[in-house]
């Protein structure tokens, strides 16, 4: 039985990408979306927003994706919240590395705004099967 995905937290520092992601996830996907511009911001706002799923850019100034994930896991209520990394992956083996860190999956950037929510949904459903 799959829980319906509604609340998505997206952590991304690039304003351009934030706007297009909002379109892609709210308009196309129909999710309730919260966007944070930094890992730190995400750690502060997550407890209140209570996301079911977190999308996170890997490379951000200040606290990067993997570090944010590590801190997030220290908060009891987010110990198992699924996290998907978004990355313009550069190195082979990078994806495997992120999964080893506890990421549910990795969505490559640049993403296609028309299909992003489909990808998210697929990953979400696959996990709960």
């Amino acid at each position: 039985m799959t829980e319906k995905l509604v609340r998505v937290l997206y952590v991304e520092d690039e304003p351009d990408i934030q706007v297009v992601a909002r379109l892609a996830l709210e308009m196309v996907g129909g999710y309730t979306l919260e966007i944070c511009s930094s890992g730190k911001d995400a750690l502060i706002r997550a407890p209140e927003f209570k996301p079911q799923l977190i999308l996170m850019d890997v490379m951000m100034p200040g606290m990067d994706g993997p570090t944010t994930l590590a801190h997030l896991r220290e908060i009891p209520e987010f110990a198992t919240t699924p996290v998907i990394f978004m990355t313009a992956k550069v190195q082979p083996g990078e994806v495997a590395g992120y999964k080893a860190l506890g990421a549910l999956d990795v969505i490559p950037k640049p993403f296609d705004p028309m299909t992003l929510s489909g990808q998210v949904q697929t990953i979400w459903e696959r996990r709960h099967v």
Partner: protein, 554 residues
């Protein structure tokens, strides 16, 4: 509008915004790279550079710049490699970074082709193309005197002229990517049809053929035929009639872009009206939004729309009432009013039509339908209006239209505390021109002055034909001194033009009177003062510009 279309439109708008920011982003990257030390290793600057490049890798394709993502990724990969060692870069490494960076910069100008990326699906008319600057003219003429004369004369019409006296010089100078119009003499000493014969070779392998106007003293059909086959778009007999030539050049270079049509949207729904505004702006229109129908009067006068889009149900004043009011203002009797409504009831639609609505659009209209129905409405109305306000010979505003405009512009300038100068011009001894050379020649002189005025004044200045050989100009945002400078330069250049009548050449001049709004604050005083200044200019010997004294009429 369907959600998919709306989404695609928004994506397209976003990708345009992204494209607009790219030059700045590239500049930042280049700057960061310039700051990176030649000696040693600066980890902070390196991370900054890496982050900036990474941003492009991860975003380009999303906004329809696939090539940018690819080339940024290439650079990023290499930076990653360099970042492992963290040691001073050698010359080869530096060169490679510069090279890859150049590739990124290049790709920032290469959006994906329409259709290949999802962000480009929506069929909205492209923003008006900027007139490509092809005001370059290549004159190939072995008669040096004639060539020089053409150059001098065309310069007054703001053409950039390059001269070639031999075919060989021209052949060597012209390149694949040369753009411009070629004025080619046909007869050269080495070959009586040399000008025609040289063209096929030059046209070969060109993506866009050179446009050629042949100048010839042969009128035989065979020669004309050869000229057409060589890519000639016009064939002018010598001696060259400058008026005809400039007309042709204007047509080929189409330097004048029609101003963007103006649409006024009156709708109390802020979101929807902003959305419609964005759709129409995107299609190259200039849009003003009014959310309270009671605020409509000022934008109506100031913005002077070509079409009004009105929501039918609004608090305070319904769209129907508003249409009635607007129709009662003289200047807007003929403006197209289009209702926007969720109303599908035919009776109500009919009632609206009786009250002066020109069309009904439902609120759920799709973006491209909105654009195309507004576009066709405006086109028809502008065409109709042009018959009413334009002078047939010159295409300038006619007497009534320029007077109307003057009144409107004065009101607007007062509100914005700006200055206007009004100019009256009269061609000197014009009756003599008509009597000596005939009316068709007189008409050409009038046309050449109107063309010069249109080309030399700014786009928002208003030029009208006031009477037979009399012209009026409203110079916006110009005080007396500025207007004097502009009009005097035009006066000088006009007096240097050579007009052709049969085999005779002659020149003409004009006198001009100027009056500033700050001294004469309504239309009739301004007109009188300019007229008086014109009278003074005539009496002082003609071919001069006179600024009306502030004390007149005292």
């Amino acid at each position: 509008m369907s959600e998919v279309n709306e989404l695609q439109l928004m994506l397209k708008l976003l990708s345009q915004a992204y494209a607009g920011q790219l030059p700045e982003k590239i500049k930042q990257i280049e700057q960061s790279w310039r700051q990176f030390p030649i000696i040693g290793w600066d980890q902070d600057e390196f991370l900054n550079l890496h982050r900036l490049v990474h941003g492009l890798t991860g975003s380009g394709k999303t906004f329809g710049f696939s090539a940018l993502s690819d080339s940024a990724r290439e650079l990023e990969n290499y930076l990653y490699f360099l970042g492992q060692a963290k040691t001073e870069l050698n010359a080869v490494q530096r060169d490679k970074v510069s090279l890859l960076l150049a590739g990124v910069s290049l790709a920032a100008n290469q959006p994906d082709k329409p259709g290949s990326a999802q962000v480009n699906l929506i069929p909205v008319k492209a923003v008006r193309a900027k007139a490509r600057n092809t005001r370059r003219i290549f004159v190939v003429e072995h008669d040096r005197e004639l060539a020089w004369e053409l150059k001098t004369q065309l310069k007054y019409f703001e053409y950039d002229v390059k001269l070639f006296y031999t075919l060989e010089d021209f052949r060597r100078a012209i390149r694949q990517d040369s753009r411009g119009v070629v004025l080619m003499d046909i007869n050269f000493p080495e070959d009586p049809l040399g000008g025609v014969h040289v063209m096929p070779e030059l046209q070969r392998n060109r993506q866009t053929p050179l446009q050629v106007i042949f100048l010839s003293s042969h009128s035989e059909l065979e020669v004309r035929l050869e000229a057409v086959r060589a890519g000639g778009v016009a064939y002018l007999m010598k001696p060259v009639n400058l008026g005809v030539l400039v007309d042709k050049l204007d047509e080929l270079t189409s330097a004048s872009v029609a101003p963007a049509p103006r649409v006024l949207i009156v709708d109390d729904d802020v979101n929807l009206s902003n959305y419609h505004a964005r759709v129409l702006e995107h299609a190259g229109m200039s849009v003003k939004v009014v959310n309270d129908p009671l605020d409509v009067m000022r934008p109506l006068q100031d913005f002077s729309p070509d079409l009004i889009l009105v929501d039918i149900y609004m608090p305070g004043c319904s769209g129907l009432e508003l249409a009635k009011v607007i129709r009662q203002i003289d200047a807007f009797v003929s403006i197209p009013i289009v209702f926007l409504s969720s109303e599908t009831n035919l009776d109500k639609q009919l009632a609206a039509l009786v009250l002066g609505a020109d069309d009904f659009l439902t609120k759920s209209i799709e973006a491209h339908q909105l654009v195309s129905s507004i576009n066709s409405r405006i086109k028809r109305s502008l065409l109709l209006r042009s018959f009413m306000v334009r002078d047939g010979l010159t295409g300038l505003l006619n007497h009534i239209a320029i007077k109307d405009q003057l009144v409107g512009q004065i009101a607007q300038a007062k509100r914005h505390a700006r200055s206007i100068t009004f100019a009256m011009l009269d061609i000197d001894h014009f009756k003599k021109v008509n009597d000596s050379y005939g009316h068709p020649v007189g008409d050409r002189v009038i046309k050449s002055l109107s063309r010069l005025l249109k080309q030399r004044l700014r786009e928002n200045d208003l030029v009208g034909r006031y009477g037979g050989e009399e012209f009026a100009v409203v110079l916006i945002d110009a005080d007396g001194a500025a207007a004097m400078k502009v009009m005097d330069a035009i006066r000088h250049d006009f007096s240097q033009l050579r007009h052709l009548a049969k085999d005779q050449e002659f020149s003409a001049s004009f006198s001009c009177g100027l009056a500033e709004m700050k001294n004469f604050d309504n239309a009739s005083r301004l007109t009188d003062a300019a007229d008086m200044a014109l009278y003074k200019a005539k009496h002082a010997g003609r071919n001069q510009v006179v600024l009306a004294d502030a004390s007149y009429p005292a």
